[in-house]
Symmetry: D2
Subunit: 302 residues, 4 copies
């Protein structure tokens, strides 16, 4: 069962936010007749106007049902708790997992990086341009290289070196830095593997990006292997991190055509530009509450 987000302190005054009265309800449950009717009647009775609504059913007979409703409800912030309480009985009737979220409560992100800056930069730039509706709460890195760059954006930078022998310590430090300040973690080319313990702190809240090829080239130096096989497409995959390395639910993918004229270096460069775009799109979907995870698969509402 998903639980409503805890009340979070915000440093952005919601006073003039056009999103002030926009709420989102995400629901998943076994499919059966009457779910949409019940949810929309509930919102109607609460005085909410449905702005967007998207549903998905894997199979109307015995499958799973997923729903995302975006609604407008005057004075939403004040009525938040009452709304969530009132939804309880509806949810119970259908055995729903559910959560409400609030556009005004902008998600706070920790960006994890190593030395590469392209994915980090893209997120910073989109956030500043108003296209990524999130707060970059901090950047955490196992290297100090990007400290100055991050500082110029006036974002806290934490250098947490990761020693293979003492990874648990490093992760404890990272978690301490984030506690109460971060809603989701973005691995923006962070070249360390997280432990199951760390991952358990942020279930379906850690987003990773990695290259991807047709076919897959596992192990070290994938671009060299892809080059040797003469791939015609270079791509990237963004996914939620689970205990199974790089096998979590896929959020977004894209790729670009290449040919024999591209050197390994050029394949890497092209991959870099795809990575930054795919990761940024995935993070946008996450912070706009467009993603429901069921088993090892995402439903990403448009």
């Amino acid at each position: 069962m998903m639980t409503p987000n805890p009340t979070l302190p915000r440093d952005d005054p919601a006073a003039f936010d056009p999103n002030r009265d926009i709420g989102r309800l995400l629901v998943s449950c076994p499919d059966r007749p009457g779910i949409v009717a019940a949810v929309s009647r509930f919102l109607f009775e609460q005085g909410a106007n449905i702005v967007h609504s998207d549903q998905h059913s894997t199979d109307p007979t015995g499958g799973m049902f997923f729903m995302r409703v975006e609604f407008q409800l005057p004075d939403l912030e004040r009525r938040r708790e009452k709304l969530e309480r009132a939804f309880g009985p509806v949810a119970e009737t259908f055995g729903m997992s559910w959560r409400f979220s609030y556009a005004a409560r902008i998600k706070r992100l920790a960006l994890f990086v190593s030395k590469a800056e392209h994915a980090l930069f893209e997120l910073l730039w989109r956030q500043r341009a108003g296209d990524l509706r999130a707060k970059i709460a901090m950047v955490i890195s196992n290297h100090a290289d990007l400290k100055k760059t991050v500082a110029s954006w006036r974002i806290p930078f934490h250098h947490v070196p990761v020693d293979r022998e003492r990874k648990a310590e490093a992760e404890a430090k990272q978690i301490a830095l984030m506690t109460g300040k971060v809603d989701a973690v973005v691995l923006a080319r962070y070249m360390q593997i997280l432990t199951p313990g760390f991952i358990a702190h942020y279930p379906n809240r850690i987003i990773n990006i990695h290259h991807s090829f047709l076919p897959a080239f596992a192990g070290a130096d994938p671009y060299a292997k892809a080059y040797e096989r003469g791939v015609k497409l270079v791509g990237a995959t963004a996914h939620y991190v689970t205990e199974q390395l790089d096998a979590g639910p896929i959020i977004e993918q894209d790729l670009q055509r290449v040919d024999h004229r591209h050197s390994i270096e050029e394949l890497k460069r092209i991959g870099k530009y795809i990575e930054r775009t795919v990761l940024a799109r995935a993070v946008s979907c996450h912070v706009e509450d467009r993603i429901l995870v069921h088993e090892n698969k995402t439903v990403v509402f448009a």
Copy 2:
């Protein structure tokens, strides 16, 4: 106001159709709170299970609201009329344009062609492969060239020459051939301009395909003009035919990269393959009742 489809005789026995009990309701009306709730409650009360539901609102305050619901209702064929009657009051409350359609009542198409066969062929093949859920009721052409090809598919072929001076006569003949047998017209590279009189017989039921370029090259020999400007993309646009030539609501578009190495002939060949795909996708959307037209724009539900 959209009116429900008239009862149409069908030569496909619906007996074992997996789509037998699948209905679709398409609705458009001024947006206001409660529409989704009312529609889903209505369907629930009728005993229908919503399989897919997609909505779109241009603006929750004063905008237009569009909705497509696919539902399963046992014994749908028999309950069809009662269902449509019962929906009347709901529709009236919200000032809805609406129509029900029935997956078992497969749409009947007339394909209009001239000499080019690529778009025709794609539709025939997709229909036979089960990927275009339509009946190709007839092919009508102003030339006799494709008669033999069409005959080999056991589809009626009508050669209706079009004389510029006597176009009205030709169109009257075409309409006579189609009356009671055709639900929509597909211009599969039909090189004649239809008169407003003809178009009025099939409002938002005539689909055309034409090349498209960035920027646009109007008038004769667009491929030559595109070549001379050195375009890097060649595309195609499928749209509903309105009185304004090639300016009707766009249904689907796609394109492909080209470069200076492509001759005019090659651009045309590439355009041909895009055209067949874009047209086929547009026709699929139409026959699956995924398209709502408002003003000069389509809402195409996935």
Copy 3:
């Protein structure tokens, strides 16, 4: 060392072929200065005009050099042998692998199919439309299902059942059917694995198509696995067949976006349309002599 194609009997009179005097020279050798100069001087001295020329070097210092030249030489058919003989010393100087080919000598294909018709159909249609410059010499299948379809195209159809215990016999029969009549084999969704013995008869002349995903899903039922992981892209890969199953040099790849709304059936349908296009493009590249294979990689000249 590539050897020139043997003289092949042709049933297409070259008399009025616009390609009559078009030849192609494909060369690969260790890179070093002077190769292009030597080749172009040779052609110039022979009276040939270079129409297209494309080169590729993996590394000017110690890498491999690849070249494709398309040229026009009046009365080419008659001068063919002399031309090839004259090139010998040039090739020897640079340690070249090389082959001449002649646009007028249209490549003859055997299409191998099982039950699926989409890839077969696309090739037949493109060939008839003049877009695939090949002769479909025969269709060979381990099933009889497509016999009638193929017959309607007036192309010889050979039903060669493949018994797992007696595959060698079946392959011997296939090879006997093709000997002297076929230049390349296209596996157009042929659901049998070829033995190394068969493959050795057509080195870099057997083209296969298979689905491909990011990441790869090996083994049975890849579409179901891709669905369960929630892939956002569905693709296909065409490659030359080598002894290593599905690991031969990639010729062409493409893919299409999908999302959670696509059922396994729909993913398969989308995959089907990508397969037919990717295979057709790969076969076109092959029959137009645009592909050089080096180690496990193709150079595909535009």
Copy 4:
């Protein structure tokens, strides 16, 4: 006739540049036999090794021939003048327009901007990342808004207000700022129309980016028009600026799928991200000397 670039002072010491000995020769002339042979023989005799070579002929009989050769010649900087002099007679024989360029002589760009920062930012970032091999010599703007941003990159920023009545004065000032310091001008969302006089100073050296749609929507507020027509693709076109507004030779184009769910604001946002990528790719092609212009068309070598 293209003339060789004047000798330009450079502040980047070429000492350790891996591109130090890389030269490029671009040629266009009426096609006829022997051009490639003559050029490659010339380079061979000069001791140069051809690294890449790409040709294009619009028609071997009476068409135009285009060629780009990238070569390696030890001690190139010192032998530059001699090389260019020696090529004169070869060029004359074939009536060539030609130019040599030198990878070590990095092109210097002036970026023209107004208030939007996305295109500027992309170019700055790619340059810093080493992916745009150019020097950003200065930024010129008709507004002061981006002054601080540019300053943080330690790049000279010149605020040159443009008064409609006194545009000539403003342009004179711009040209004065650039003289001797700039090889090409990039209009990175510069919202002023340049006069023919200005354009004449930089023939085929001014690159502009603008949105593009299928079909085209001319005049004010193109995104609103595109929205009202319900376009399914949003794109951007980069081109050289000529006297004919937005009708110069196209360098690069790209686009992205959209649907009815995208508001005008979202179409603009998507357009923004395509613009930055398309412009960056076009500028890369320019500074790597990959573009030949003939009449109103580009040949863009890969």
